[in-house]
């Protein structure tokens, strides 16, 4: 190898090392980007997550109509719903509404299919449990009547807020006739 190449090699090693070391030193004096979860954060992480965040599923059984659309659309069959006719009152009731959270793949297809927004993804992500049975969430602890959506909007004051929350969740999805940003000017 020629002397010129030899000297060039030495010069390149030194200059690129110099450059690299200046970059790492510049990082040393900057603020680190770590979030020191879980104890050194100013607000709980759940409050900083966007509304669309697909955390663990939650069901508001008060506005669930029992249409079973979520159970059908789930690609991994993690939702199990049982509906039975109550012999005395002749009204259909939920016997169980179980979601196996460890099977769920957080795809959001069930929440999109729901007509009222009763089943939705929450901002919760800390769902660890000490045994697999703890990962099956039971949303119908006792027998409960199905919800019948009223034409012209909900009038029962206890349910108005819930229906609104469900509807707001459903508005996030894109639809063929406009979505969240279709009419923005």
């Amino acid at each position: 190898m020629s002397v010129a190449n030899y000297a060039k090699d030495i010069w390149q090693v030194m200059s690129t090392t110099f450059e690299g070391m200046s970059i790492t030193l510049s990082h040393l004096v900057r603020r680190p980007m770590t979030i020191q979860y879980p104890d050194k954060i100013p607000v709980p992480i759940q409050e900083t997550l966007p509304h669309r965040y697909r955390g663990i599923l939650e069901v508001d059984l008060d506005i669930c109509t029992g249409c079973l659309a979520c159970e059908r659309d789930c690609p991994i069959t993690c939702i199990t719903i049982g509906i039975d006719m109550n012999k005395e009152t002749k009204v259909r009731q939920f016997t169980h509404f179980d979601i196996d959270v460890c099977k769920c793949m957080y795809c959001g297809l069930c929440s999109e299919a729901c007509p009222t927004g009763a089943i939705r993804h929450s901002q919760e992500f800390e769902g660890a449990s000490y045994n697999p049975a703890g990962l099956v969430r039971h949303f119908a602890p006792q027998l409960q009547n199905l919800y019948k959506p009223k034409k012209g909007g909900e009038t029962d004051p206890t349910l108005v807020a819930k229906v609104d929350i469900g509807q707001k969740y459903l508005d996030e999805f894109a639809t063929p006739d406009g979505g969240a940003a279709a009419d923005e000017s």
Partner: protein, 395 residues
């Protein structure tokens, strides 16, 4: 230290005990104090500091939970390793296997008896000080070969041999660079070399001539290679196939090798400071001997630790060199350059004193200009890429 002992013997403090025994016992005690009170916590804190420095260079935080700012992390690691199962492979040579970490450990611990912490703070000021350090650090090679052989594992053997070849090859540029300074100082004693320099930066051997500046970089690079630090850490790279000669080691034995590596960083820094940076020389403003001693100790420690920091910094920056490139670097680049530095220094010794002062001034000016350029570059990097963009509003 010998002067103090002689004084105490004359005052009759050790009645009836022969002088040699007093010397021997005193040296053993001093060595013990240095090793347990200084070296062990130093190596541990170096491991913690290394992780914090790397982390900050990578925009993250590093261990900060065990103790204030995480400074006791090394204790936690040490205790964890002590509690692990002591595993010796079935077909391994168990005596050699157990003994190898201690040989490596001795290889670096023995150097501390000649490290000059201050004008009077040295365990034994041998008149072959720096040669003793070179000799004793070669024990590490024996330890590594023992570890590689005794593991009864083809990969450990190969890793051990490669590592031994690396260390032995890089002793040559390191030795030549040290020889350059020995020629300048005229003595091999550590205190003698320091006393031949002054306290102002331009009286240090680092800026004595361009050849000593080159010798310094050659020494530092060769010492990093001897200490198995990136960019020369092939033997212990995790992303290579195996972990080299430490593959079969676990628990405390494994930690011994790394303990030796972190401690060795300080030895590298200390030798670099002694030879090139003027050691413990401080401006002559202290009259009180105790204050002077403390000032000298702090100066030496800070200068040596600066090089430990630079070693960590280099490791965070550079990728790894391949084994054949490592050997080519040593034999084709560093050995000829070290010879050039040595011959250049010897040649410059014949230049009259005024000429030497001019060369010193030019070298110092050049080094200062490079340092200023470097910091300007750092400021440019900080301004240019600002990674503070972060979308979570409250955090």
């Amino acid at each position: 230290m010998q002067a103090y002992l002689d004084q105490m013997i004359r005052d009759g403090a050790f009645a009836g005990v022969p002088k040699e025994v007093v010397y021997a016992v005193a040296m053993v005690l001093a060595a013990f104090v240095v090793l347990s009170a200084f070296v062990a916590p130093l190596a541990g804190v170096t491991s913690w500091l290394e992780r914090r420095v790397w982390a900050r260079m990578q925009s993250r935080v590093g261990p900060n939970r065990v103790g204030p700012q995480g400074i006791l992390q090394w204790l936690a690691d040490g205790i964890k390793n002590l509690l692990k199962e002591d595993l010796i492979p079935a077909d391994a040579d168990s005596k050699l296997f157990s003994f190898a970490p201690y040989v490596v450990f001795m290889g670096f611990l023995c150097t501390f008896v000649v490290i000059p912490f201050g004008a009077d703070l040295i365990v034994a000021d041998l008149n072959i000080g720096i040669l003793y350090i070179l000799a004793v650090t070669s024990l590490v090679v024996v330890g590594i070969l023992m570890a590689g052989w005794a593991s009864n594992n083809k990969w450990s053997l190969l890793g051990g041999m490669r590592s031994a070849a690396q260390i032995v090859s890089y002793e040559i540029p390191a030795g030549l660079a040290i020889l350059t300074i020995i020629f300048l100082a005229g003595t091999m004693s550590m205190q003698g070399i320091i006393k031949a320099q002054g306290w102002v930066p331009w009286d240090w051997y680092l800026f004595h001539s361009p050849f000593t500046l080159g010798a310094f970089f050659l020494y530092f690079t060769a010492a990093l290679a001897e200490g198995n630090r990136t960019p020369f850490d092939i033997p212990e790279a995790e992303s290579e196939l195996v972990a080299g000669y430490v593959t079969e080691y676990s628990g405390m034995r494994f930690l011994f090798f790394f303990f030796a590596e972190w401690g060795n960083l300080y030895v590298i820094g200390a030798v670099a400071t002694t030879l090139f940076l003027g050691g413990w020389q401080v401006p002559p403003i202290f009259e009180n001997p105790v204050l002077l001693g403390i000032a000298q100790f702090v100066t030496f420690f800070l200068k040596a630790y600066l090089w430990v920091f630079v070693a960590m910094w280099v490791r965070a920056t550079l990728p790894r060199v391949r084994v054949d490139q490592l050997m080519a670097l040593c034999w084709k680049y560093m050995v000829p350059l070290s010879f050039t530095c040595l011959l250049g220094t010897i040649g410059l010794m014949f230049v009259p004193a005024q000429g030497q002062t001019i060369i010193k001034a030019i070298t110092f000016g050049f080094a200062l200009a490079t340092a200023i350029n470097f910091f300007r570059r750092v400021v440019f990097q900080v301004r240019n890429a600002r990674p503070e963009l972060y979308f979570k509003p409250q955090i």
